[in-house]
């Protein structure tokens, strides 16, 4: 019983630490239009931007994508929302960071143009913004199958616990070498 409590305490500490943790940055690999260079894209906050709030588009490159004199601009378009903007990114070493406020929920096409001398590389990415201001212009997907799956899973889990509880004595006796 002490071991169980100790284990629960440890799990609780881990959960508390994770609950207190600040936002995380995940990563998406995007490749340029010629399939010759790659970059990692992060979008803050949490790769899940909020419409109406400033988002940071962090373009993290490696392997000679950005040179000292490189200029990076981001074209942001959405047919649903009728948006077409261009944002200049600030370049520092291998990073190019642009700030943008998505006006509404919806699907946006991002095109990172890396201009180094006469050469231009384009990295495309599609981002769905599903939080924040909703003008109703964008269709929101509905996943009925996921609701059914979640409910069915929950019922199956409950049944599993009930069966385990009902067989607890046999389990204790037979679950050994």
């Amino acid at each position: 019983m002490k071991i169980l409590y100790g284990g629960l305490l440890l799990v609780g500490l881990v959960c508390l630490a994770t609950a207190l943790a600040p936002i995380a940055k995940a990563h998406v690999l995007i490749v340029d239009s010629t399939d010759s260079k790659g970059a990692i894209l992060h979008i803050n906050p949490n790769d899940n931007p909020v419409a109406g709030q400033k988002a940071a588009l962090i373009f993290d490159t490696d392997k000679d994508v950005l040179a000292k004199n490189s200029r990076v601009v981001v074209d942001i378009k959405s047919d649903e929302i009728a948006v077409s903007d261009r944002v200049e990114a600030e370049v520092e070493g291998p990073l190019a960071v642009a700030e943008y406020t998505f006006p509404s929920r919806g699907v946006y096409k991002l095109a990172f143009q890396v201009m180094s001398g006469d050469e231009t590389m384009t990295f495309n990415y599609t981002q769905r913004v599903s939080r924040g201001i909703d003008t109703g212009a964008a269709a929101q997907p509905d996943y009925e199958w996921a609701k059914i799956l979640l409910l069915a899973g929950g019922i199956a889990m409950a049944m599993l616990f009930i069966i385990a509880f009902n067989n607890r004595h046999q389990i204790r006796q037979q679950s050994s070498f």
């Binding site: 440890l10 500490l13 881990v14 940071a56 199956a156």
Partner: protein, 260 residues
């Protein structure tokens, strides 16, 4: 047959693990409209669950050495299914990362070197876990004999170290102090348990230490392991911490934009 299955705790653990994975995915689908974000969060959560299961599996032996195997026989019996569940989540994490997030092995060449090394470490770890899973049956124990089977299953400690390095180098949440604290705390506890087990085993086999010496050796061993864990970040960088530069005295605009 049905009664035997329902009296086997491994059945419940494996069933629970599978159901949990389905429910986690369904819940994420309902809460995340963006497909790329769904893929990211699913692989992150499955990776975390794999680590948690593996941690529990690794903690069982030392706990048994401390409290006595007889007292936790059902838990020792369940360890096989806990390990298989760890592999299940690890495999799901791997598949989602390679084919969901990256778009296939051909994309690996575009990744930074740290990413590639971390993926290699993770791949070796999942291969070790695959070996552990397929040799987890009673038939394999008979064929290999218990001695060699047990020896080969010690590979999981190498797998665990590789997973630790993989998680540290690529873990997106590990740039935060609270996650680092949670990880260090968990590893310190596991290291403590394993140290006690090793010292007890060595003493039982060779009677090298008296009681006081055992305590000193145990604490020293534990301190060495914890020190190695704490020093890991100085040798292996975390990819996401490269976005901060502690050598700069002023916060640049970029760092402000990134939220540092």
């Amino acid at each position: 047959m049905g009664n035997k299955l329902l009296a086997n705790n491994r059945f419940y653990i494996l069933s629970f693990s599978i159901l949990l994975s389905v429910m986690v995915f369904a819940w994420l689908r309902l809460t995340l409209a963006d497909n790329q974000l769904l893929i990211m969060r699913t692989q992150q959560i499955f990776g975390l669950l794999s680590i948690i299961y593996l941690y529990v599996a690794l903690a069982i032996s030392p706990v048994a050495a401390i409290v006595g195997s007889q007292r936790i026989k059902p838990i020792i019996f369940a360890r096989r299914s806990i390990g298989v569940s760890a592999f299940y989540y690890g495999l799901a994490h791997t598949v989602i990362v390679f084919w969901g997030q990256m778009g296939g092995f051909s994309q690996v060449e575009y990744l930074p070197a740290l990413f590639i090394w971390s993926l290699i470490g993770g791949t070796v770890a999942i291969a070790i876990m695959f070996y552990m899973t397929i040799t987890s049956t009673d038939w394999f124990i008979r064929v290999m004999t218990y001695r060699w089977w047990k020896l080969s299953h010690r590979l999981i400690y190498i797998g665990g170290i590789l997973i630790l390095l993989h998680v540290w180098s690529l873990g997106t949440h590990l740039v935060s102090a609270s996650w680092q604290f949670a990880l260090l705390g968990s590893l310190a506890v596991l290291a403590g348990l394993q140290t006690v087990r090793v010292v007890k085993f060595v003493n039982k086999k060779w009677q090298l230490f008296n009681r006081d010496e055992s305590v000193v050796v145990g604490i020293a061993g534990w301190a060495i392991v914890v020190t190695l864990v704490v020093l890991t970040p100085s040798v292996v960088p975390n990819y996401h911490s490269r976005h901060t530069d502690s050598s700069k005295t002023e916060t640049t605009n970029i760092h402000k934009m990134m939220g540092h």
